[in-house]
């Protein structure tokens, strides 16, 4: 879907056209589902949270001004729904604790099939500061764009690019030492 098409469809959806919203769902659902699945590890739960994500998106769709922001915004809603899911499961765990442990458990990478160099990268990745590590994981292991990562982490796109830049430089340094 081109940006123009997405813009047109978004406007229609904002005017109450549920068919247009269905097209938005078709365009984004696969990657949002993957994002959710990595964090809940259960297909049916991920599907339910996906459903809730898009229903909430429909309710608040007029908050979005540009089609470029749509993707990141959907990720943000999905993340909030995942946090709510864990809060219910763990019975009133403080929000910060849930967010912290949630990202540590995400494993989009198939550890069993890594080559030697990739294993080294994974080792040194754990030595990066948390925010740099998260950006690398989102960017390279989950294929999120800088804008999408910005929404998920609640930072500006510029800040994400800086973090990515620093993370890659740091990774290079650490790998050289190894």
């Amino acid at each position: 879907m081109t940006e123009e098409e997405l813009k047109r469809i978004l406007q229609k959806a904002q005017n109450g056209d549920s068919e247009a919203f269905g097209l938005i769902y078709e365009h984004f659902s696969e990657k949002i589902y993957r994002f959710i699945y990595f964090r809940v590890s259960h297909k049916e739960v991920a599907e339910d949270i996906l459903s809730d994500t898009f229903v909430k998106a429909w309710q608040k769709i007029n908050q979005i001004n540009t089609p470029q922001a749509l993707s990141g915004w959907l990720y943000q809603i999905a993340k909030n729904n995942i946090i709510d899911y864990y809060r219910i499961k763990k019975d009133l765990v403080p929000l910060a604790d849930v967010e912290e442990t949630l990202e540590d458990q995400v494993s989009p990478v198939d550890i069993i099939n890594l080559n030697l160099q990739q294993k080294k990268i994974l080792e040194v990745l754990s030595q990066l500061p948390e925010d740099q590590r998260e950006v690398i994981k989102y960017r390279f292991f989950e294929d999120l764009t800088s804008e999408e990562i910005a929404y998920v982490l609640g930072k500006t796109e510029g800040a994400i690019r800086v973090l990515q830049h620093r993370a890659i430089l740091k990774l290079k340094e650490l790998l050289k030492e190894k």
Binding site: Y25, P108, Q164, H165, L175
Partner: protein
Amino acid sequence: MSENPDYEKLIDEISNCLKNDGDISVYKTNRKISPLVTLLSQLDNFPRTAVPHADLLRVKNQVLDRIALPKMEVAPHGWFGITWLPQAVRIGAGALGGILIVVSLTLGTAVAALNSVPGQAIYPLKKIVESAQLKLAPENEKTNLQIKFANNRLDELQQVIQQQQDGQISAQEAQKIVADTVQDLQKSTRAAAKAAGKQPKAQVADKLADLSNKLYIASIHSEGEVKIELEKALQSTKEIEKNDDPIITDPDTKTESATETQQAE
């Protein structure tokens, strides 16, 4: 602010090239950036965890079902002002046109009602439309429809709580609306559980569990009397889930709130 815009741009260029299966050899020939290229290449080639295929079409239909209004066809207009017709026909056409206008307004109002929340003048029409849907639905669809209505009550509860938080309605008004809506929610969930019949228990239990989760979230975001009402509703839904609800397990009991039943005893 970018620290080193050229370097960042290079990272983006190489990453995009890798993502699009482009030729990175031109970058590799540059000895200065070759290690960067190798690193980005390795990052790009990390094997990914297999993700089970989601039933995206089912979820899509579920989403559209939860957000959509029923499509209503409006009778065609265009009978007015046809002066060349004989008078009797014109009078008949006028009467028919009048009926069509009334029907259009009613249907249009019904459609508008489906977006209304408790407390609005048009809300009772929403309940009438839902009753009509239920009456017309085949037996095997009634469970899903009741759960859909229960979800509607939940959405309304969330909107009412939001209205109270925005100061659009008083706490007292909110409490009254929430109490009535919770009663309706309980009726729908009980009716869904009763109508389940041949539908797999796990499927219905899953949907009820989903309702419980949403009620729990709504209760977290509320306070005071509203919170108490929501917690009552949550308790009742959990009982229905576990099949412990006294009203469902005793088929002779009339459909009323569990509290009223206990009070009567």
